[in-house]
């Protein structure tokens, strides 16, 4: 655990240039690429994750976000570039491999088994046992107690750990999955669009848990297509488009407006407004879009002195 502190110290000092000193990062990618047959899903992506930092990966549908996390989570293997864990080059052959290296992933859709009770889901794959050899049995009471306690510590107020997890709301399920990752000593937590299917209030709850996980010293990778969710919690932002990185920024170098502009592309928004006008869209809507276009172009035209740092 000594290494952690040093890492973080060095990091804080070197925050201006986090990409050069590879060993300091909890996890880093350098020029990582992946293709499926002749489809290039991801090419030349570079990013880093550190203790107590949230790295956001932003991009529209099909930008390569899922491919990126699947590589880090061990579901797929990259075929170009380098994946470093604590300065050591790795290639995961299975999700178990990645888990053993301290990388836990919370998937948007396949986080849990709906028909199983909450406590069974919480410990799934890492059950506590007692006894010897063939008579090893699960320590059910202990597991239930820990589940209840861990969820309470994360601020998740739970009714009954025996109920099937399918009965919880989407946000609650995400939170159980996050609490599970934190409890099992994950160093890196990957969140795959945790807010995509949630309402405003529920999203807020999940965002708060992301910050809790960060404050506990985890390196968080937050994947989303919503800059409004990413900006308040993120420390770094990696923007993906059509499988390529179109920007890698530190929070102090970019504003929410710029981020939104980069994501949507000001030109595309302007085109949309024009199209809507031609189609005789509702004038209020058109005005709104136009206002946003004005906002975006304004934001993009006045970059900060330091300028966005491209990866």
């Amino acid at each position: 655990m000594n290494a952690h502190k040093i890492d973080q110290q060095t990091l804080l000092k070197n925050e201006r240039d986090p990409l050069t000193h590879t060993p300091v990062h909890l996890l880093s990618l350098e020029g990582v690429g992946k293709h499926y047959g002749n489809i290039i899903a991801l090419s030349d992506v570079t990013m880093a994750v550190d203790n107590g930092r949230v790295t956001c990966v932003l991009g529209d549908n099909g930008a390569g976000k899922s491919t990126l996390i699947k590589i880090i989570a061990g579901l797929h293997q990259h075929d170009a570039g380098v994946l470093n864990i604590m300065g050591e080059e790795r290639k995961f052959s299975s999700p178990r491999d990645a888990l053993d290296a301290g990388i836990a992933t919370v998937y948007q859709d396949l986080a849990v088994v709906p028909l199983m009770p909450i406590w069974r889901n919480f410990f799934l794959g890492s059950e506590l046992t007692s006894g010897f050899g063939p008579f090893k049995s699960m320590d059910v009471e202990k597991m239930k107690d820990i589940t209840k306690k861990e969820l309470a510590d994360m601020g998740i107020d739970l009714r009954d750990v025996e109920q099937p997890i399918g009965q919880l709301s989407g946000g609650e399920r995400q939170c159980v999955a996050i609490a599970r990752a934190v409890y099992f000593g994950a160093k890196v937590l990957i969140l795959d669009e945790p807010t995509a299917a949630l309402g405003v209030k529920q999203s807020g709850v999940v965002l708060r848990y992301i910050l809790q996980a960060r404050d506990r010293g985890l390196g968080v990778i937050f994947i989303t297509h919503n800059p409004h969710h990413a900006f308040p919690v993120g420390d770094r932002f990696l923007l993906l488009k059509r499988g390529k990185s179109i920007g890698y920024y530190d929070k102090k170098d970019i504003t929410l407006d710029e981020l939104t502009a980069q994501m949507a592309g000001g030109a595309e928004l302007a085109e949309l407004a024009h199209e809507l006008e031609q189609l005789g869209g509702h004038s209020d809507v058109v005005k709104e879009v136009q206002a946003e276009v004005a906002d975006v172009t304004h934001g993009a035209e006045t970059p900060k002195e330091s300028g966005p740092r491209h990866a």
Partner: protein, 349 residues
């Protein structure tokens, strides 16, 4: 952070959890529909036929149930794990034939054949599971193929080696009596002969229930049946679990095959076809979800008991046994509907 943490001063009991009374809790169990069905059926036959409740008749019913129930244990676990196996009926006969033909042909002690049969049974399960995991085909297709192949092998090899459609008698061979003692004897309880398969059945159900409810493997079985991808993502060895389940079915098939062999002393090579459905029916009546992820070993046992009661009850009631299959179909339909209703009710409350 401080806000959320002050909020958690959670009392021991939560006001949002209305107290579920024990009856409702019981109704939430997977096997409860089958239990109700079993009680109704028992009372029905007890009223129709006075002999039905005689101790000897009950022992016979239990014996009939156990020959289905032993297989239903493995099949139930497999179904909870999200797969099913159509080759079980003939695999039982394959196991019995292996033991008998091998020890007869090489004139060995029958126990050598019995152990070889165990390897073959586990091997059949392994191959089923392995092909399934490699090809990702539905288990329906894979096990249908093994079902057909085993049917052919049973007939073909038996004729090739023994020159007949049934295996030669092995009753005078070394080890036959001890093997019969283990697999096909009867235990005298207060003057009533209870077949040993009944005890084997109960033991298997107990072990399976313990595995399901109290071990890691049990947790994995529910998980691979409930959501295979989610299970894989949290590090559950999905392949090993599923292959293990098929091998568990193989083990049950071996036990029943050995009983069939040693209860008589020859095996008909064409038998077993169609029995696979009886095991699946027992598991489904017992509340195992066909799609996986839900069910219990005790449920499968109750399903087998319902089957045994219906099978023998018709005889005791002196009805024409032609009606049995119709009755079985009706039971299956009613049981599944009851399961469905009970499960929905229980989940709402």
């Amino acid at each position: 952070m401080t806000i959320t943490q002050t909020k958690i001063a959670s009392p021991a009991t939560d006001e949002r959890v209305a107290k579920r009374n024990p009856l409702q809790k019981l109704l939430g169990r997977p096997e409860v529909g089958a239990l109700v069905g079993a009680i109704v059926l028992f009372v029905f036959f007890a009223l129709v036929s006075p002999t039905f409740t005689q101790p000897n008749a009950l022992a016979t019913i239990l014996y009939g149930s156990s020959t289905i129930g032993i297989m239903a244990v493995g099949v139930s676990l497999l179904m909870i794990g999200g797969e099913f196996d159509l080759s079980t009926g003939v695999a039982v006969i394959s196991s019995a034939l292996t033991a008998s033909m091998f020890s007869w042909y090489f004139s060995t002690n029958v126990w050598v054949g019995v152990l070889l049969a165990l390897l073959v049974s586990l091997g059949i399960g392994f191959i089923n599971g392995w092909i399934l995991m490699k090809t990702k085909l539905p288990s329906f297709i894979v096990t249908l193929a093994t079902f057909l192949m085993l049917t052919g092998l049973n007939l073909g090899l038996t004729r090739l080696i023994g020159g007949s459609v049934s295996s030669p008698s092995i009753s005078n061979m070394d080890g036959f009596d001890t093997a019969r003692g283990v697999f096909a004897s009867a235990v005298n309880i207060a003057g009533i002969e209870v077949k040993i398969t009944v005890f084997i059945w109960i033991a298997l159900v107990a072990v399976a229930t313990w595995v399901l409810m109290r071990t890691r493997v049990g947790n994995w079985i529910f998980a691979v049946g409930g959501d295979e991808n989610a299970a894989r993502a949290v590090g559950v060895p999905v392949k090993a679990t599923k292959i293990g389940l098929f091998m568990g079915v193989g083990f049950c098939g071996w036990v029943l095959g050995m009983h069939n062999l040693f209860a008589f002393d020859t095996v008909q090579s064409g038998e077993g076809v169609g029995n696979e459905f009886l095991y699946i029916i027992a598991a489904v009546i017992g509340g195992c979800l066909l799609t996986g992820g839900y069910g219990s070993a005790i449920g499968g046992a109750i399903g087998a008991f319902i089957f045994g009661m219906a099978n023998k009850g018709i005889v005791y009631a002196q009805w024409n046994p032609d009606w049995f299959k119709f009755f079985l179909g009706l039971m299956l339909l009613l049981a599944t509907i009851v399961n469905l209703i009970v499960k929905r009710r229980a989940e709402l409350k």
